[in-house]
Symmetry: C2
Subunit: 360 residues, 2 copies
């Protein structure tokens, strides 16, 4: 799922997303609750009609944003009180209001309200968050009114294998239309992420969608798919695109580098996206360099295509029984231009020039 | 002509422009000379190939930008020395180098290098600029190498009827593929602009394109067409679009106004553009309000369509002999919602929230 925090993926038309092969996108309930307000969206006919996106939509519950973005956040079993990151206004969200908000927004898939703990944390804190997440998941089931939306539960438990297992079993016992793994991709190592998936995914029914939230880089996607994950959301294609970080079949292209000033090649000569069909690296370097808005748009379109195509090729490989080969080939091709990788270190630590501040 | 200062109209794909009915656009020689450099563009195959725009291109000579944007600008008959508005680097442009730059950029139509005087100015200063503009126009003709580009002369003379006539006659005597009227839309009243056109246009051959540079608002376009002008360039559709000022058949819509929060209508229910076909005022209000990049893109697309359609309808009216009626109807319909006009005053004086700083 590409991420449209406040409606659109930044700079991208719904028609573009459709042409890039996406059928499902994510909108953020927290951001839309604040602006323009879930009631306004409901009055305008719901998110599909409001945003013009013809595909399916998943809204997150807002839990992650409340715990990571807001001020004076206070959690009790009843719910969470916090101050808006925009204007400091006071809000109180419960599992029941999280359902009310997501029902008003009208996505096809809605998420249970969960408590996401920042890591590292004391085991008791994580255990309490797991207990509360289960309590809230049951209240989300009891509190919903609409029957035409799928409801997914969210597994928490930090990096603790026992707490993850307990959380997964609690949710499976309650029964959901799909299961998400939350609280990862928050700064842990990839080994810790993969180990947590190794323990958690087998607890979730393979007959239901299994969704890893907020992930990730291509390597994370392929390793999570290898462990049974079906669904992802991530801002990487769009946010990295806005910083000029382009994903290719041979590694990364950092388009601001002077080496591309006179480079007539497409970003990735092997790529079939509309940007690679029409523009040279030289032009994309120029657009980025002069801070043209079109740079963000074209870089995002290329990256979205790359991710869409990558997931499509994984689906094909699974269907054809060649996934192990696909995974091997991935690691082989990504090492073709090692010079690229060292350059990227400064982008990772330096942060994005056009970083969004609010989630996509 | 829509204006693509550094290549693209901000946020707009070449394919969008084509679908909006444009066949000719403008690029700024001055800006492209500085970044990425005319030699880089030439090496990349010229502007058409570099930018991916399949239609025709006109480049301005850079004169207007040099006189309005740069520092320490010094004019002699030989040429203009100035410091770049970007980094203060020293440059010297002559009529011959202006041709060299525009030949390297490779537009279909190139402009003679002229001296544009800021108004108000002493009559002697304007007279000297007219003399120099004629001198430079002849040097542009003599100095060019390529024979596959049309070359237009630029009439100067401020608001002085006699100097305008003298400038026009000088250029017609030299003989150009088309004639532009420069040095207007620089702060004079619309009556002064129209009076200058009344005096100047009849001096220019009706068998050649007559081009009013840097104009303008719909009323300016209709009045200039009534006086014989064939061609315009202006940043109004794109720059006003980025500030949320939308042109409609009944006047202006300022999309940031709270009255549009729950407005399910299209910007202009009578408009056939792709934005009006897909989005409500409520959604465009939301996108503008939360500073989404897509707001700039969609607002620009709507405005470009409005201007493209407006020019097309004028061409049809002229061909059918109904232009006088068209002009009457324009003034009648623009008065339908007078409430809109008063609101706009603050936009005009306050300037654009997302104003570009470098020309489009």
């Amino acid at each position: 799922m590409p991420v449209g925090t406040l409606g659109p993926v930044k700079g991208i038309d719904p028609q573009d997303l459709e042409q890039l092969g996406f059928r499902l996108m994510l909108n953020n309930a927290y951001h839309l609750y604040l602006r323009p307000g879930h009631k306004v969206v409901a009055e305008m006919g719901g998110l599909h009609r409001f945003t013009g996106w013809p595909g399916a939509i998943l809204t997150d519950s807002g839990g992650f944003q409340i715990f990571s973005l807001t001020k004076l956040c206070k959690v009790t079993d009843d719910g969470v009180s916090f101050q808006s990151h925009l204007d400091g206004s006071a809000h109180f969200i419960t599992p029941e209001t999280a359902m009310e908000i997501q029902e008003a927004l009208g996505a096809d898939i809605i998420m249970a309200f969960d408590q996401c703990v920042a890591l590292p944390a004391e085991r008791d804190v994580i255990r309490d968050a797991v207990r509360r997440t289960t309590l809230w998941a049951a209240r989300c089931q009891a509190g919903r009114r609409r029957t035409d939306q799928a409801l997914f539960g969210i597994v928490q438990g930090g990096l603790d294998a026992d707490l993850r297992t307990a959380s997964a079993r609690d949710l499976v016992r309650l029964g959901f239309d799909g299961y998400a793994i939350g609280g990862l991709s928050v700064g842990e190592s990839k080994e810790e992420m993969y180990r947590t998936l190794d323990g958690t995914v087998p607890e979730l029914p393979s007959t239901k969608p299994r969704y890893l939230m907020g992930v990730g880089m291509p390597e994370n996607l392929i390793e999570a798919v290898a462990r049974g994950i079906d669904l992802f959301d991530c801002v990487v294609p769009s946010r990295h695109g806005r910083t000029g970080w382009l994903f290719t079949s041979f590694g990364r292209v950092v388009i601001k580098q002077a080496r591309y000033l006179r480079d007539e090649q497409a970003i990735d000569p092997a790529c079939a996206c509309p940007v690679c069909a029409r523009y040279s690296r030289a032009y994309l370097h120029h657009l980025y360099n002069v801070k043209e808005m079109l740079a963000s748009r074209l870089n995002t379109i290329h990256n979205l295509w790359h991710f869409s195509d990558f997931m499509r090729r994984m689906r094909t490989a699974i269907a054809e029984g060649t996934f192990a080969k696909f995974r091997e080939a991935f690691y082989r091709t990504q090492r073709q231009e090692p010079a690229e990788v060292t350059v990227l270190a400064d982008m990772e630590t330096g942060g994005g020039r056009r970083s969004a501040g609010d989630g996509s």
